[in-house]
Symmetry: C3
Subunit: 460 residues, 3 copies
Amino acid sequence: MPEHTAASRLRLSGLCFLLQILNILLFAVFVRYSPEGSAGPCPPQLNCSRRNEDSAFQQPPGFQGVHVQVLLSFGLLVVFLSRYRPGSAAISVLITAFAIQWAVLTQGVFHFFLNGKIYVGAQSMVSADFCTAAVLISTGAVLGRVSPVQMLLLALLEVTLCTLNEYILLSLMGVSDSGRSLTVHTFGAYFGLMVSRVLYQPHKDKRKREEQQDKGHQTDVFAVVGTIYLWIFWPSFTSTTTTVHHNDENWAVLNTYFSLVASTVSTFILSPVLYEESTPRMVQIQDATLAGMAMMGMAGEMLVTPFGALIAGFLVGLISLLGFRFFTPVLRSRLKIQDTCGVHNTHGLPGILGALLGTLLTLLATADTYGYRLELVFPLVAQGSRTVADQAIIQLSALPLTLLLAGLGGCLTGAVLKIKVLRCSPDAQYKENAVFREVAEEGSEPSASGKEELGISTLV
Amino acid sequence: MPEHTAASRLRLSGLCFLLQILNILLFAVFVRYSPEGSAGPCPPQLNCSRRNEDSAFQQPPGFQGVHVQVLLSFGLLVVFLSRYRPGSAAISVLITAFAIQWAVLTQGVFHFFLNGKIYVGAQSMVSADFCTAAVLISTGAVLGRVSPVQMLLLALLEVTLCTLNEYILLSLMGVSDSGRSLTVHTFGAYFGLMVSRVLYQPHKDKRKREEQQDKGHQTDVFAVVGTIYLWIFWPSFTSTTTTVHHNDENWAVLNTYFSLVASTVSTFILSPVLYEESTPRMVQIQDATLAGMAMMGMAGEMLVTPFGALIAGFLVGLISLLGFRFFTPVLRSRLKIQDTCGVHNTHGLPGILGALLGTLLTLLATADTYGYRLELVFPLVAQGSRTVADQAIIQLSALPLTLLLAGLGGCLTGAVLKIKVLRCSPDAQYKENAVFREVAEEGSEPSASGKEELGISTLV
Amino acid sequence: MPEHTAASRLRLSGLCFLLQILNILLFAVFVRYSPEGSAGPCPPQLNCSRRNEDSAFQQPPGFQGVHVQVLLSFGLLVVFLSRYRPGSAAISVLITAFAIQWAVLTQGVFHFFLNGKIYVGAQSMVSADFCTAAVLISTGAVLGRVSPVQMLLLALLEVTLCTLNEYILLSLMGVSDSGRSLTVHTFGAYFGLMVSRVLYQPHKDKRKREEQQDKGHQTDVFAVVGTIYLWIFWPSFTSTTTTVHHNDENWAVLNTYFSLVASTVSTFILSPVLYEESTPRMVQIQDATLAGMAMMGMAGEMLVTPFGALIAGFLVGLISLLGFRFFTPVLRSRLKIQDTCGVHNTHGLPGILGALLGTLLTLLATADTYGYRLELVFPLVAQGSRTVADQAIIQLSALPLTLLLAGLGGCLTGAVLKIKVLRCSPDAQYKENAVFREVAEEGSEPSASGKEELGISTLV
């Protein structure tokens, strides 16, 4: 790579160095381990009465499941759909490594600040993983059009705003969103779409679409991995955060399973009608799986009958497919929003639908159908300080608030990324981006290129 | 794919639609979540006294392990051995998605019916996964010779019959088969072999064998994934269903480990004698691993000394290899049974041997060697309502009963599938099947075909 | 493979047969399951007061995590870095299968011998897995230069010596090394390096290095799998063996996460300075991840502040990279030690640094900062029978002892392997080794070779 200057090569290195030193200093000054552990008495400021914040260690598989989720499913989503850039795997790992540290810090400021110190525990890591998931969803929208340095800045800003949104929704408003339909899926998707809109560059779009078309079948086989992992690990992911910790009748897990099963079948129903193939591609099955799961984020623990999950999954599977077929082209041509990995159909729209379903189910919630679960799902309602209708209004109002924050945050972040681009010459910027493309295109004779691209198959 | 008519393309779509609507309606009418959870008192009809049916949530890793098992190991087995059909991954997911719903319904009818409702919980999902595993084993025998529509019908019928067999064995006869040597491995293998016999088509067999030979080395590397997953996840799979829930001395896990270790080594011993290579192929190691684990299905929790598991695994590893070398060709030429993935050697024969070993061990069971475990493994013996000899006779008689049900069910299903074939022209039927082949053969120049086939390597 | 004689082909088969029969006989005579389980009273000889040896079943995910660790991460490390030998996967499985049985026996002699019987349980399997991990690390140093028969003998000897070292350190000296910085990482690395030194063959070295260079980019994509698995599963691996079983505030897990996060970022900082690329290769990220985790082996549960883990991980990431760049060539040219997979930089050096850090932290340990954890991490200090300074001296003296044992053991093993080589003609020996190479090079035209090599991508 002779034309790749040392300056642009070292820019990422330098930024990483600065951010890591900053993280170490902030950790040294502010972050300590929880002094007592979950067994100890809970300081009143930590608001333990509502949820036992440190109980994640009582569910180590769930805790592990979240990491599987963040690193595998989202990482995979980001990586394999951008199959022309094997190098993006390395950047995904960097983004994850930075975002986890930064999220521990920012979340600590909101949630765990006590006597001038941030006390971290297992729950901090789980919350940090959620923020990282939102960041990875957002990168799915802009992938292929931003440099690693821009990605790092995007992570820096989005983690902060995502934490703010989560704090407002979950702590201030008392919204029940245990599967993070709003705070992860909807926020991440619309944040990324707005950044994509601000960074819109028409000529790049065309080239990418061509590349995507002639590699369709490879994407199919890569998608198998993603789908299988989602099936296995996402339900545990959901269960990590449900309020029901007692291991008995974890409806959120079962509802998520039923939803994903139904959305998978609906892909097999609608895909042959919309496209010319008798069997759907694995990418479509994976997208349906993602949509069926994002749908159950808020509603998962509120559904009291399994057929509700079947119907919801069935419908969201159809809607997601229709979105890919009819809405994504409109987004691209009319609204000038490029959506590299289709996050609008797999995270954005299902997240909104999940929030609406959650609102409806909140309205229908009664002490009879929920039993002791009411205390866990809607603690304020159970304590009598809120009526069910109030709770439903609050759940509903959380949706536009999230969209607003994600939209404004995306605009702001996009603007900042544009400024940063100006700070180096556009040429150098392009070259840095091109390094990754070179990795993929290096062996441009057929067989060697086959090697490279299939290599992505390992990005499990 | 110009010759592929819209009618045959939409047939699968329509069938999926009908079945999914049927599932939703049946769920809406019959299925509810368990009202009380495992903490609540158990209604007498649910027969909780024998096994705590809802305790699966106390073992979330095991629950997750079952899904890993169903989707990865079996799905993988089915997928990668049929490496000429990447499209089969999508069909495997469809079969799994449908079979899980249908198994929840049929199992609910037998096990969880109470006041006109089927009450589901985590245990329902685990049982449904077992049925799905049996279906996937059966598809391993017929793979490449049936269309997706036929596969769906096979799943519909086999789930029903497998549930019936399980109900008769476990609930009515009180057979102890916690690792499902009989109800999953033996039933699935012989059901599939019988369907394969009924659907026998001589000219297809020849072609497939040629394809298999010149892709041997690729299968090797794909098999590595399967083997590693089996080693990691199957023992948890076994432990999910063992009757010993108290986490202390889970002999079934340890016996399974020792058995698979020994069967792996025995592959390294016999393979160089039978074949011309000094090291066995990974496919052979994987088959030995599967055999060593199927062997421990029934006997896993009955073996009271580790060296018994070592010897059993050692012998079944040898037998499985000998079966591949000498018995599979006989099956094919004399009995006209094509066995695409060799399920007879990896599931059928080891399942039978496991059942025989289990019978022998039942005869040897005494209160002294089992201690408090006798209550868990043989509750009726511990309660005094059965002698050890009676239990052994019942264990033994379950084997021919399972073979009979699997054989009759396979004949019936094969006949139904043949009728369905008649309902469309054989030509259209062949074309539908050919769609998948096209996916694999599309790039017929060396490099592109290399891409396609290696893509299967991602079907982790 | 016409030139491959039947004699050399059957030598491995015969050795496997002998060893397996030996294992079965030893198991039959000596090994029994624990009579009572963890609930029963503990015989005084088993030294249960210090650690609840059978508590691993209370952490099934961790138990599973160890297997994931051993089979995936180490197996992968060994396999994919030697990407010119797909056949090495089969040998890795054989080594694992044999080493687990042998480790159960040897560890049983030291730890579980009671009334002439070895009583095994879940803890035996976990300990056996640790020994297997050390063996796999060692094979990483000598890979490509030893035959399968030699590997088996290496496993036989190393398991014995590793168990001896572990017994001296953990049981006799009372060293606190829950993450096995010394007994697995340091011992395995230096044992393998010493064997590599004794087996040094100059002409082979040159050829291998050439092969390594022109396959660099493929290694990149294979490494993604390894890195992601390490991130997900290693922290559970560490937590399996920590002395803190109460699930509250498992600092070892959090410290390990923080350490690996920081070492990953440090790769992005230093790599562009040392090499000509703006983004580090995935292999480098994986090596940094391994180093960051090996560093936390001993110190993981002693660090009381998160920023300590950040700093330690940050520094060890830099040191590991510098070691690859500057120290590995010196090892090769001056000390005549070939290090196929760079285990010195990823296991050896970080293990030593981890032990030094652990010693320092032991000196700083006070009852105030540790609280009730002191009893768990340093039981002898908590009981008053040792001062903190004594404990620190013992921790420190364990390092040279481990290095001495590993060095002597490696010399001895290397000498034995050389003797074995003499027993067959060097020619036949070379041919046996060549069998694997043929597997990889069989399709030497570009496309077919692409197939073979990418197949390794499946070694997830």
